[in-house]
Subunit: 197 residues, 2 copies
């Protein structure tokens, strides 16, 4: 009996991670009743982001330009390439101010249960990036979870086969933990103590 | 260093209730990376709902028409008017199939700490609706929380002053509980045992 546009809004909100039917209903009422401005802003931000955001052709993170500002910065050390799972991990490493090289963002991790294998991660794009002749060392900074470790293992094997020097963040990061929830000091230590693999 | 359209999307997502900075970031990445279709659908649903949804001029709930289908239904008992806080409460009462009257949805409750008083609830709109000459009894079905009880108390006083018969759901609903999380059987019992106040 509720209007179809309300039902559609509630159903659409369920595409957000961790939002079930009750939360979606609460969110819809909140937006329509208490925060119509916020709702309009969200609709606009979604449309705009979908329209203008692409993946940087060098580091694969979200960018509004073909090559993001970080990759285009001549002051960064182009011989170092740090591989992370997500943009949030990159942000955490930047915060430490202990790293001046470039990045490659996988936008995910190996996760067979979710159907994410080497092909879905587009590892050949990373291989092409790492073998550009300028990169002399790849620092693997995927998470220290099972999936992150498996990803690091596969990437290191692929890079070794191409004669690239590979290192891994040291075990300063707690085993089983995620970069996003680690303090800057620990991440800085792990960068300094990175080991060849 | 992240693109402004991404920052804007993350910031916009924070207008959703219960969503902090980390959740908003996770949601934004998820939408852009794994569910662009869902994101586009959400943007569309938000814009559409904002454009077409209004408040029914009779019961105040969300509706695409000036008078919602329920209020326009001649088979419902127009002498009974049930007052609820939110559309979700209305849906719970409908589910019991123990009520055949009409509704008035407050779209909130008295909540002095949130700055919601009688004026913000537009109780004069409810008074006008209840004194249309057809309504013979108003059933108060606000939640049995402190705020819901206070709302029921104020509404019953206002209605008594206008000579309207008022009843309250019986205490079958657990004290301190909310309708949305109560089983249909309990709500049905509370409807049957409603008492004059």
């Amino acid at each position: 009996m509720s209007p179809s546009s309300l039902d559609e809004l509630i159903e659409s909100l369920r595409c957000l991670p961790g939002v079930g039917p009750k939360s979606a209903q609460r969110m819809a009422y909140h937006l329509l009743q208490r925060n119509q401005k916020g709702a309009a802003r969200l609709a606009g931000a979604l449309s705009h982001a979908l329209a203008v955001l692409q993946h940087c052709s060098r580091c694969n993170t979200f960018s509004e330009e073909e090559i993001c500002q970080r990759c285009a910065n001549p002051h960064r050390d182009a011989s170092l390439l740090c591989v992370v799972e997500m943009p949030a991990d990159l942000a955490m490493i930047e915060q430490t101010q202990a790293y001046g090289g470039l990045y490659y963002v996988l936008m995910g991790r190996l996760s067979p249960l979710d159907g994410i294998g080497p092909r879905e991660l587009k590892l050949d794009k990373l291989m092409a990036r790492a073998t550009d002749g300028v990169v002399s060392e790849v620092v693997l900074a995927t998470n220290f979870t099972n999936e992150g470790e498996a990803t690091a293992h596969l990437v290191s094997e692929l890079l070794h086969a191409r004669g690239i020097k590979v290192s891994r963040l040291s075990r300063g990061v707690p085993v089983g933990g995620e970069l996003e929830h680690t303090d800057s000091g620990t991440i800085a230590q792990a960068l300094i103590e990175r080991r060849a693999v």
